[in-house]
Amino acid sequence: MKDPILRVVNLKKYFPLRRGFIETLLSRRRLYVRAVDGISFNVGEGKVFCLAGESGCGKTTTARLILRLIPPTDGKVYYKGVDIFSLKGKELKRVRQEMQMIFQDPYQSLNPRMRIFDIVNEPLDINRKDLSYEEKREIVYKALEDVRLDPEEVVDKFPHELSGGERQRVAIARALVLRPRVIVADEPVSMLDASIRVSILNLLMDLKEKYNLTMIYITHDLAQVRYLGDDMAVMYLGKIVEMGPVDEVLDRPVHPYTQALISNVPIPDPTLSRKKIVIRGEVPSPVNPPPGCRFHPRCPYAREICRREEPKILEIEKGHYVACHLYE
């Protein structure tokens, strides 16, 4: 196998919990939100790697860590073999140009006081000082055409004059102007209407093919994972519980959580009857995660060992990993 373009090793991020003044006085112990708690995965070049999980599982924090928007508590992220957290100055700038992000909320990710042209042009303004204005304009227009917008029509507009779908296209155009190698997309269609979603998903797929991009796609929707993913990891409370090729994981899930998750995804087909796995309760707080396997309080198969020991992530079949005592 080729070397992975991106390698995440034992990545951790603990956010200190902000507490009131009195509380700090009363207890010495500092509390942390363990948003990401030791995850590792590889992303092959040209692949779409999906991070799936429910809210609060740490998938967005992982994205922000990979892009170095926040510093990690521990762990490494290697991009083409280079540890990105050790980079400084020019080197960091260069690597950043190759990794771009698309955000969830197109209403929040574009500066409301800037024109579309300036928004898309900004990465060029900062990183490509060698280009003339005319050259930059050409790139911006090309990027807008790439995302199927009419440049002449939108360049002068403000974000609020565009629809949600159009805004997300602008955000994608901005991510593309620097010709990145890796795109991190954080729930890029979850705020959009159903009739527009597919066109954005298809657009992402086409651009990925056209520019041979590697994509980290973050979503809570397993149907989207199936639609565009190559490999996937399922996260629960800051940990990866199961990982492997998309079809393998979705067709033959082995972790009880993955199984429950898949069985509960609503399907737009009323004739399909299936057994839903009922699991108790809801995701516990990441401030005080359960000891042992984090899923054990909700797991129908939990045994004594699950309460005590944290399961290691093991390869049960080629490329299919799971962290569960049932498979040890």
Partner: protein, 298 residues
Amino acid sequence: MRLVSREKVRERMRIYKRSIREFARTYKENKMGIVGLGILLVFVFMAVAAPLIAPHSPREMWLAEPLSPPSKEFILGTDELGRDIFSLLVYGTQVSLLVGLLSTLLSVGIGGLVGLIAGYYGGVVDSVLMRITDLFLILPGLPLMIVLAAILGPSIWNIIFVIGIVSWPSVARIVRSQVLELRERPFIEASKVANASDLRILFYHIAPNVAPLVFATAVLGIAGAILSEAGLSFLGLGDPSHISWGMMLHYAHEFGALEIGAWWYLVPPGICIMLLVLSFVFIGYALDEILNPRLRRR
């Protein structure tokens, strides 16, 4: 450095023109704003065209006719030195507007910078800057102004300085709270991913988003500054070489204008102060309504 291409400049101009047109359209619908702007324009005209409007020089003394009531010669009468009140009033507009604008510029400059830096960097920087701000905020404003003005001496520049230095903390607070909210927005992260420097994020992304609110507060601040100037001058701390409305009230009081019933000496500067302050307040509210999207009506 590369010269900005002519085409780019032209494109910018077109964009700005469109923005201004859009703004003017919304502003026109705001009655309060129109009234405020109307009053302000009259005063601005008075200030700019003072030598043409004023029938006399404010320094000219008609010693034979002190405290004379309004007449054909002196439409608003004269003061105790026989100076034409109407002329004093017209020239006083210059002082009020100058003090109002410059001291607000100063307070917005200091307050804006402190607020931006404190809000964006957070942590220790924020704590230190905000404690200093708090210190200035809890100092009683009027006494501080009086003391400072008395120490620094009666000059119009000192008055501007004193008002500016006393009123920046509230601007800093407002700006900081806005920045705190803005810096968490995804569009800031988006430009970080594009390698934007802190400086760029602060002045290119955050500042323009804070600007409208600051602008609206600044306009209200001008009103406050004009009142402060009037107050200081009334207390006799004004600059005698620049007669302001406050100072006219001071002299009127000093020479017992009220006791002898010289209403023409007291009332006109009072009304002028009120109208000018009101015009800025109206404009400030109008801007707040237009520029602050949360207040915008559907």
